[in-house]
């Protein structure tokens, strides 16, 4: 069972790297927040396989509530304001 851990870690590391790339290179803020949610969850998985449950739990509560909430509100607010000007 322990022997399978290393491929598991490698896979999740590669997924984390890919997700980070897509978050950084995505130009649309709304799509970006969805991608960054996925990225956060992949980080949670990585932390679990790296034997860090406390960090994974923190990342989970942060990535499922704090980030999406404040970022979505910010995006919504800026869209709303821009429409008013037009």
């Amino acid at each position: 069972m322990i022997a399978t851990l290393v491929p598991l870690q490698a896979t999740s590391l590669i997924f984390v790297a890919l997700a980070a790339t897509s978050v950084a290179l995505c130009r649309n803020p709304l799509r970006q927040i969805i991608l960054s949610g996925v990225y956060g969850l992949l980080l949670v998985v990585l932390f679990v396989v790296l034997q860090a449950p406390d960090v994974a739990l923190s990342m989970l509560v942060v990535t499922t509530t704090a980030y999406p909430l404040i970022v979505l509100v910010a995006i919504a607010r800026t869209r709303h304001g821009s429409k008013e000007e037009k």
Partner: protein
């Protein structure tokens, strides 16, 4: 395989910086900052990992069992809190900029220069 974890940490930092440099939107830029910061979590936790180690929680396991490093985990915890707070502050600033200017494009915020 030995280097993969560190390489991923370095890559995340570089790609996050690129995203921040060419960002068209302050909210987008804030998210790129979170990406840069996540490279530090990956680095810290990879550094403290030990093969066949378990989480450093001694409930149901014997003292002296091989565990991963608890210090890097506590540093990463602090780091996550710092990241959230700084991003919240930058987003609040971005919202205020947008209220004044009608746009959150950092290249158009050029009130002070020269």
């Amino acid at each position: 395989m030995n280097f993969l974890a560190y390489g991923v940490a370095g890559w995340i930092c570089i790609v996050g910086l690129y995203g921040a440099i060419v960002s068209k939107n302050l909210i987008h830029l804030a998210l790129c900052l979170t990406v840069i910061q996540s490279s530090t979590y990956v680095l810290l936790l990879s550094v403290g990992y030990r093969h066949h180690g378990t989480a450093p929680i001694y409930k149901g396991i014997r003292l002296g069992t091989n565990t991963v490093d608890p210090i890097v985990q506590s540093l990463a915890l602090t780091d996550i809190v710092i990241s959230v707070t700084v991003i919240a502050l930058i987003l609040a600033l971005a919202l205020d900029v947008h209220k004044k200017l009608g746009t959150a494009d950092p290249d158009e915020v050029v009130e002070l220069q020269g």
